[in-house]
Amino acid sequence: MSVAPRVDSDGQLARLLQIGIVLEEVVEARAYQHYQRLPAEERDERIEALLAGAREESAEHRERLEALEADLDGDAEPAVDVADLVREHYSRTDPEDFDGVLYDQLNGEETAYKFYDDLIDAIEASDARFGIDRDALLATLRDIRAAEAEGVEAVAELMESPQTEADT
């Protein structure tokens, strides 16, 4: 093991990319569950648009991570589909209202941001030669991290704004 936050091999990098893929899948699947289960009186066009946007963005991030993983290891097995796991565990952790849904979304985006931030630092701290181009890898991860930061801002703005007339 290593106490240093550093990515030392293709194997570790591939595993971390898989964890990123799963985090994106969790955001994607939970946004869908939120969308489906939000009580009618709590529905709001803005939150529906936000959740739909979050799903699309997570799907895009997931595909970009999968492409990196495939380039790294041509024999990589497809990432696991965690939608069923999220569905199974959703009732245990589901938010109950508008604020809860937004908070969960915020938490998902912040967690993803933290993950990419740590991963970028850990790659930068390493001298290892990876099986994929380091600059392209870092550029993709920084791009995704920036999108997560924008996602955090978008949710935070919605949480701070007053609800529409339809909700009041």
Binding site: M1, V3, Q12, I19, V26, N107, T111, D118, A122
Partner: protein, 148 residues
């Protein structure tokens, strides 16, 4: 998980294995660092009131240190269980050890949403086996060991 938390977790587990203070050598072995590095970090953690260090005997966690060590162990348990159960990683102990420094507790909390961690976590962690005792049982590793 930051370096301090990795050390506290290691002290917690070595104390259990040795049934007493965690020696610098055992900590260094467990963490894959030099004894000098381990000694330096032990001093820093002692200065922060997270452990007591007695020369020639070893380190013992304070109550504050144990609380942090348990939280760190719970984060590690999430990672082991996630690797074993969701990603089907056979060598989940080794990989969890390699990845724990890069995985933050907030990320582990998110992964925790899709795994079946036991309510008594992290008390069910078996220091000797370096894994959750329930997980070892679920994976049939205990039977495999008995059959060897």
């Amino acid at each position: 998980m930051n370096t301090a938390d990795q050390y506290l977790k290691a002290v917690f587990l070595v104390q259990q294995i040795e049934d007493g203070p965690a020696s610098t050598g055992a900590l260094a072995d467990r963490l894959g660092v030099s004894p000098a590095s381990a000694n330096e970090m032990i001093g820093k953690l002692a200065d922060r009131g997270l452990l007591d260090h007695e020369k020639y005997k070893g380190a013992t966690l304070t109550d504050d240190g144990e609380t942090r060590a348990r939280d760190a162990l719970a984060t590690y348990c999430v990672l082991e269980r996630f690797l074993a159960n969701v990603l089907d990683v056979e060598d989940y102990r080794e990989e969890a050890g390699q990845l724990e420094a890069v995985i933050d507790e907030t990320v582990a909390d998110r992964l925790d949403m899709i795994i079946e961690r036991e309510p008594d976590c992290p008390n069910c962690f078996d220091a000797e086996r370096d894994a959750c005792a329930h997980l070892v049982e679920e994976l049939g590793e205990a039977e495999a060991e008995a059959g060897d």
